[in-house]
Structures are given as structure tokens and as C-alpha cells.
Amino acid sequence: MQGNIACAEGALAGGCRFYAGYPITPSSEIMEHMARRLKEVNGYFIQMEDEIASICSVIGASWSGIKAMTATSGPGFTLMLEGIGYAIMTETPCVIVDVQRQGPATGQATRPAQGDVMQARWGASGDYQIIALAPWSVEEMYYLTIEAFNLSEKFRVPTIVLSDEIIAHLKETLTIKEEVIIYEREKDINKPPFLGDGKVSPMPSFGEGANLLITGSTHNEWGVRKAFDPISQEKLTSHLIKKIKNCEEEILKYETYFIDDCDYLIIAFGSVARSALKAIQMLRKENIKVGLFRPVILWPSPIKKIKDLIKEKKIIVCEMNQGQLIEEVKKYKEEIFGLFKTRGEAIYPYEIYNFIKNL
């Protein structure tokens, strides 16, 4: 199965019943697949007039009580950030898949990149925490999309799946488990639907008698606009950050390979981590001890989990950009090696192999 199709199937398995999108390479197969499949499961599909409209209708559907998603690539993601900011502010669960391609702007539409690491984290205005996941295989694409829905519903935060053109168009076999854990949102029309001081509030839907007051302006726990009140503003931003930060232990996810005896540690995510693992096997044959740390969840960053390891080892960050994730790693040590590539090609195992040999 192709990565993009695995993403769409994962979304359906995760309970997604609404898709709104706008065509953009290299993500379009997700939308095309959803157009057919959602009908079969009594879901809803619409192709909107642009990416802004897509994310807005996804938010509308989410408040209607339906798990909703959209998929796009870098330039479309830029447009969606307006709605993503609104979803953060109104604590609306929704999933956005960003199949990364070379940028800035139109860039190379059919070529892979990992240039949206920081766009996903900081693209919307204001202060907030967000969740972003980075699959490295077709199988993981499937399960992380399910996970994205669960995290999004549980923490009432827009959740981003940062795919890339390689994973999106890669064909691999995947094993689908018969049973997956699905999180359903809590509903209670008598409790305030916003601002639980770091705790996630229940989220009723339209038409349930909750008299919902939903606004992208600063508001109190019942949604009443507080556009001039400094205390409300402070409470709101602190809540949006705390509800994720307080649960980092639960959210953070990563994998390690050969780190116990390593002298060199590679940090890589997505398709690049595959090349890194291959390079590590090549290097270990020559008795050069290299390990791999792979963030599965990119945001909140799991890098802090290995801060001691970072201080001890020689660290190489490999990414298909000019150095974005490396900034997170540099918080713990000055001297970090970076292997960056923005040629619209994969980082091949031999490139990582040569880089480490020459260190």
C-alpha cells in the first residue's frame, strides 16, 4: 500500500468521517482516496475552494461532533495556519496532514523535504503548544494517523502529521491489526467547554442544547469574549500551553537503535531515519559504533529525553532542510554536526556513511 493511502485508511480506522481539502501535490492521493472511501462508511467529503476554506470547514465539522481532517503540502499548510490558529484558540480537535515538499513557496512540488518542522511548530500567531507526528514507514503512517486523531481528541488540539513525499509515495506492505484503540471525546453540556487550567474540558457539539459560545477572541471558560481583560488573556495562553506540557510524558514518543555502546548518535526522523539506520548498519560492520534516536512525535519535542546522551556522544542531526530540528538539539550542547540536504532528493545511506567516516 502507498503511504498516502495508508494515511487515509488510518484516518478512517481512527474514526474520521469528514474530509475537506484542496488538491496539492504530493498529498492529493489522500483526498482522492477519501472521496471514494468516505461514501462507503457514510462519512462526508467536500473539495473546497482553497486550503483556508478546507481547514475552516473541518473545524465546523468537528464542532458538529464529527472527527475531521484535511491534508495538504507546504504552501497549502501556510494558508491553513490561519485556521489552525483558530483551532488552537477554540480547542478544536482536527488532524492536518502535511506531506512536505521542497520550498519556499511553490518550490519543487514533486520532491521530498522536511522544511516544515518549524512551520508546524510556530506557524500560527501567538503562544501555544501543538502536537506533530513524523511517520517513517507506510505502516507507521497508518497507525500514527490513528494516533493523531486520538491525541487531537484527547487534548483538543489540532494535530499535525508531518509526512514527506518519500513516505507518501512509498509502497510497502503493512499489517492492519483488527482492533485499535479509539478515543472518543467527552461531552457534558453542564460543564464549561473551555479553559480547564491545564485540564481538557468536555466538548459538546452543536444542537445539544449547550448554547455554545465559540470564539477565536480571548474568552473565559464559557466562551464569553474577554478582549480587553489582561487576566483572561494570561489564563488562556497558560492553559493552552499547560494542557500539553503537563502531559508530555504521556505524549512523547521516540525510538532508539544501538544507543547503549555508541560513540556517535544520529538524530533523524521520517524517511531520513531509514537511511540513517541503513548507514549505521554499514558503519557497524567496520566497527564504528553509531546509534540512532528517532523522534516519532516531533512536537512536543522528545529531544529533552536524551539530554545526557547528547552531552556524552558526538551528535549528528540529519534532515532534509538546512537545519531546523538541530536547533532543538543545540539547546543541550553547542557542538552538534548537521547533515543537511535540500536538493529535493532523499538523503542516501552512503551520504550519512561518508559524513561520519570523515568526522
Binding site: Y44, S57, V58, G60, E82, N211, I214, G216, V224, R225
Partner: protein
């Protein structure tokens, strides 16, 4: 306001934020009267609004589900609700700048899809909340903060635009025509498609004050002098229609 309408309001948020002389309060009341007379359960209506003075008519005043969205995007949000919840009525209430400028693309596409969404365009022909800048419906030569020498551009007739996109029901009234306005809102609930009601509402603070209409009475005189029926307007040329306010049903 009639006491029987109080049940539809969140009294704790009053007084309204609208300026003296603003027409939005009349519209607020007319919408509620229309709903009350039809005996529709307000809890089965979702009110969606954008950003601007008009967006504050439903949010936070109406005791119902209200979605106060992003500038220009209420119709896109409403589309997501419309498709997934056929059991609910959806009313979008937003301004001329919101629906006609930044949200223009969403307006034409929602009209083309002909989804059952009642859209009330609260048209004061100016950006009120941001301090009185020229809007896409500001008539030619009118003075605003960003057209200090008179608006050099032609205004949009949003009703003609929406009609051409395939909307089912399109009309325009002013807040001084509360009876036909109320009837048109009630008619919109019966329409099985996109309905668009353009409501001319005076902005004395920004529009009137800078254009020799410093009181609501001046504005009222101006509107009454310049209204013309849709039928009658058909026989007039562009020059004769300058500054005229066409009222009635376009479709």
C-alpha cells in the same frame, strides 16, 4: 425590545457594544422576531459569524449555539456544519467587508454550491470596527479613512453577484424596512438552498459623520431618498443608479 424576545438573549452580556445610531440593534431584533413568529427552536439553529461589528449581533447576544469565526471565513465554517448536520438550521451573520472582500471567494463558492445556509450580510458599506475604512460596497466618491479624497472605485452589488452564482433566494432591504426584512428572513428558512439577504445598516459613527450625515435622522433621510425597487432599477442606466439603494427580491 419586546419582552417575549428576552428568552433568546444572554441578558448578562448587555448592553450591546453598538454605537448610538447603529442599525445593527434593529436587525438583531428583527432576526429574533422572525424566528419567534416561525416558532423555530433556537437551539436547533447554529449562528455563524465572522469578524466585525456585524459578527457581534449573534455572538455573544443570542442564547443559542454561536460560532464566532475568523475574518471572512464564516461561510467556510458553515459549510462544514451544513454537510454534516442536516438536522440543524444555519444562519451566517456578517458584514460587507467580511463577506464581500476577504471572504468573497467563499461567498461565490457557497452560493454556487447552493447549500441551505441563510446568509445575512449586514451592509454598512464601511469597515466599522477597525475605524472606518473603505469597503467593497462603499459607494463611489464617499469619504472614508482610507479614501480621504473620495472612494475612487465602483462598489460591489453583492446581491447581483450572489444571484449570478446560482443562489436560490437573494434580496436586499434596509433596517428601516423591518416588515419586509422579517418576512424575507422567514422566507429564507423555507428555502431549500442558499439564501442571501443584504441588509443596509447605517454607520453614523464612521460613514455618516464623514459624509455630512452626522445623525441617524440624516442617514434615514439619505436612505429614504435613494431607495429604489429592484423592478424599477431594471429600467435605469448606470449613471441614474449612482448612489441608489436597490431593494427587493433579486431572485
Amino acid at each position: 425590545m419586546s419582552e417575549k424576545l428576552y428568552k433568546y438573549l444572554r441578558e448578562e452580556v448587555f448592553p450591546t457594544p453598538f454605537c448610538p445610531g447603529c442599525g445593527h440593534g434593529i436587525l438583531l431584533q428583527t432576526i429574533l422576531r422572525a424566528i419567534d413568529e416561525l416558532d423555530i427552536d433556537i437551539k436547533k439553529i447554529v449562528f455563524v459569524s465572522g469578524i466585525g461589528c456585524a459578527a457581534w449581533i449573534p455572538s455573544p447576544h443570542f442564547k443559542a449555539d454561536t460560532l464566532h469565526t475568523l475574518h471572512g471565513r464564516p461561510l467556510a465554517f458553515a459549510t462544514g456544519i451544513r454537510i454534516t448536520r442536516p438536522d440543524l438550521e444555519i444562519m451566517v451573520i456578517s458584514g460587507d467587508g467580511d463577506l464581500g472582500a476577504i471572504g468573497g471567494n467563499h461567498l461565490i463558492h457557497t452560493a454556487r454550491r447552493n447549500l441551505k445556509i441563510i446568509t445575512i450580510c449586514v451592509n454598512n458599506s464601511i469597515y466599522g470596527m477597525t475605524g472606518g475604512q473603505v469597503s467593497p460596497t462603499t459607494p463611489k466618491d464617499i469619504i472614508t479613512e482610507t479614501s480621504p479624497f473620495g472612494n475612487p472605485e465602483e462598489p460591489f452589488d453583492l446581491c447581483a453577484l450572489v444571484k449570478s452564482c446560482g443562489a436560490e433566494f437573494v434580496c436586499r432591504y434596509t433596517v428601516f424596512h423591518t416588515k419586509p426584512l422579517k418576512k424575507s428572513i422567514q422566507k429564507a428558512f423555507q428555502i431549500n438552498g442558499f439564501s442571501f439577504i443584504d441588509v443596509i445598516s447605517p454607520c453614523v459613527t464612521h460613514y455618516g459623520r464623514r459624509n455630512k450625515m452626522p445623525t441617524l435622522y440624516d442617514f434615514y433621510q439619505f436612505i429614504i431618498k435613494n431607495i429604489i425597487s429592484y423592478e424599477k432599477a431594471k429600467s435605469l442606466n448606470k449613471e441614474e443608479l449612482k448612489n441608489k439603494i436597490i431593494i427587493g427580491e433579486y431572485v
